[in-house]
Subunit: 406 residues, 2 copies
């Protein structure tokens, strides 16, 4: 990371604040930095002159003339965001304000092993940059969320749940070497939480928990106004919260984990058992139309058609998720819990009432009364935009150093 001098430090601080707030007045910049109005005026004048920032219209007045708001020039840099799940890959090219210039969603090829998956990813990035008409030499950075287990500091995968051959794969250096730009990686629940914080329902929250229910169950903790990763980056294994010490064995070796009771594959297996026992006429019909494959979407459609077995299955799933969330609410007293990923997307409507009921019944009164539990309204493309945010602050820094020398 290049060193920057004292004036650049002030410029960067102001630029970062404008970036984080999206729109902010000079008065608020002064209040946030502790800098004098005079210094703020000088610094923003310079950033305006050099086209790092723009003046937007007027903000809300607190009495006198409404203040002019400043925002980042979206064109000062371009980022690539990657969300690499076990099954699907989501990519986006964005400007510095997160506007999507191009995106694609395709298979991740994670199950084919790291060589195939990473070469495929690289090709996809090249294609997307071409589509967005951004030269790769103009790329400011890449942020990547990975569903595998990571050593974040070194940018390598340690393993990948249910997929072999992903031990010690240097994902970050592979991309940095081939793209010639700065790359940052983190786990997918955390990059999804970044998306929620900037583009989603957590926009105004300083303390929230993002839970994602996909092939596995993950969590990102946003505490004290920033992501909390724990001692070694492993924080957030909410899926391995015990809810029944004598419960079924989980893939992690523990018993009665939330993930062992309510993962997508468990729900689908329970639905298949229901079909075998002829308990679910609607699901039978839907499954036949779907070539015999039971899916979460099919279960949700059957519930929509008032299929009692599927309604019961989703209600029971909500209760189990709720019991796990009770421990979380009691421990962390969050103001907001956002539920994202495939299961809430397909069936959130049926899960949320029973989750809320269990939390209100079982959690301590204080934290239960303060928590809102909501479904994410972001799309898979937003997950890629969220990952791009990993690289945004360092991209600003490098843009500044490039403009003013180091």
């Amino acid at each position: 990371m290049p060193k920057i001098n004292s004036v650049q430090t002030h410029l960067l601080r102001v630029l970062s604040l404008i970036y984080r707030h999206e729109r902010i007045s000079r008065t608020k910049l002064a209040a946030n930095t502790g800098y004098s109005s005079f210094l703020i005026s000088k610094l923003t004048e310079r950033l305006l002159k050099d086209d790092f920032i723009h003046e937007m219209g007027a903000g809300e007045s607190s009495g006198g003339r409404p203040p002019t708001l400043l925002s980042i020039n979206p064109g000062i840099g371009h980022l690539v965001g990657v969300h690499m799940g076990t099954i699907n890959l989501r990519l986006a090219v964005t400007d510095m304000c997160g506007r999507v210039l191009a995106y694609k969603i395709e298979k991740s090829l994670v199950d084919k092993g790291p060589d195939d998956a990473l070469n495929h990813l690289l090709e996809a990035i090249f294609d997307l940059l071409k589509e967005a008409k951004i030269s790769r030499h103009k790329l400011s950075g890449v942020g990547m969320g990975i569903s595998g287990l990571l050593d974040r500091a070194r940018g390598i995968t340690l393993s990948w749940p249910k997929v072999s051959s992903w031990a010690n794969v240097p994902v970050r250096s592979f991309l940095e070497d081939n793209l010639g730009t700065f790359v940052e990686v983190d786990d997918t629940p955390r990059t999804m939480a970044l998306a929620e914080k900037r583009y989603g329902t957590a926009r105004n929250s300083e303390e929230f928990v993002y839970l994602t229910f996909g092939a596995g169950i993950g969590a990102a903790l946003f505490l004290h106004g920033k992501l909390y990763a724990g001692q070694g980056g492993f924080a957030g294994e909410f899926g391995h919260t015990t809810i029944d010490e004598h419960g079924p064995l989980c893939s992690c070796g523990n018993r009665g984990c939330v993930e062992a009771l309510v993962s997508a594959s468990i729900i689908i297996r329970q639905a298949e058992e229901g079909l075998a026992m002829d308990l679910s006429p609607q699901l039978r019909l839907i499954t036949q139309q779907n070539g015999g494959r039971v899916t979460l979407e099919g279960i949700a459609r059957a519930a929509e058609a008032n299929d009692r077995f599927c309604l019961g299955l989703l209600l029971e799933t909500g209760v189990r998720v709720g019991i796990g969330i009770v421990s979380l609410v009691n421990l962390l007293n969050p103001e907001l819990i956002v539920l994202g990923g495939g299961l809430p997307k397909a069936a959130g409507k049926w899960l949320l009432p029973s989750i809320n009921r269990v939390v209100q019944e079982r959690a301590m009164q204080g934290p239960a009364s303060q928590v809102s539990i909501v479904l994410s309204d972001l799309t898979e493309v937003d997950w890629a935009r969220g990952a791009a945010l990993l690289a945004s602050e360092s991209a600003l820094r490098r843009a500044l150093v490039k403009a003013y020398g180091s």
Copy 2:
């Protein structure tokens, strides 16, 4: 809070850093603040002249001449720390460096209701100040840990577990009005964690969890280098982590909470059942010597004498605590968990091996390999010293304003 001007802001920043580090060199102060060596030299010169800080001997050299270390003048203020548990009250008068000038441990009278308990507390503080020869007009502040449920922002109790009549008691304003000084309150697990961070085994940890096992089970989360209290100050209800969704009803209304399975009263009841079934000859002997009362200490002494029933009871307790800790380790990936309070003090030796075994067997490999679980080595007087720390930073600020005007 009085406003301070710009020079005072710099002086306070440096003074706070010296306080937090206990001993620190001018070079490190410069690195920590981003101030120039020249500014640091001017600021520390002024603080030395006005006797806010002292020069200690030399620190460790990183090559050249060993740097002179600076530390707070312990006499610039005096604090009272109070730890008010359901049964016992611990009080200490300390100087600004946490040296104890006087202390006492007595009954808290919490069960007699707020009038008796608070008047008793006030008398105890007056007595202790007299013993320490500190005029109450010279008191810089009071920090108080309370085992009741708190509205921290307003300094009032909302309720007290298992004791009635503590709804909406304005503890902070009662003490402020009667002592004429600044008072800060928080819950006891958090003030105990402050003691662990400054005086105990968590001294070098930036991410740790403090668990306390007394009448109830509480937790304090120290994350991102500071206490995490959650949205409304309720964070830390580790005792109400579910470990068995079908388990026994807990006082909180949930089922199968850690606290419903391993609180002191549950363990004592199980021991009494063992006695009734004549399963524990050693405990019978010890209990007879103790006037028929079964205590945690008695159970621990019986285990020490190789009583199989008591050994089994403590092992089983450790397993249950361990299962709760597994969820905590998976969620937060802490580097350290400190076990404090009555149960670990009496029986930690027998609990710790089974807790560690369960965590290593059941928690995810990454976070399990990174966590140390240790017994607190602090005393009850340290709990009062920890509570005093709540008031220390604001005491520094007021001392500074008093010296240099506002």
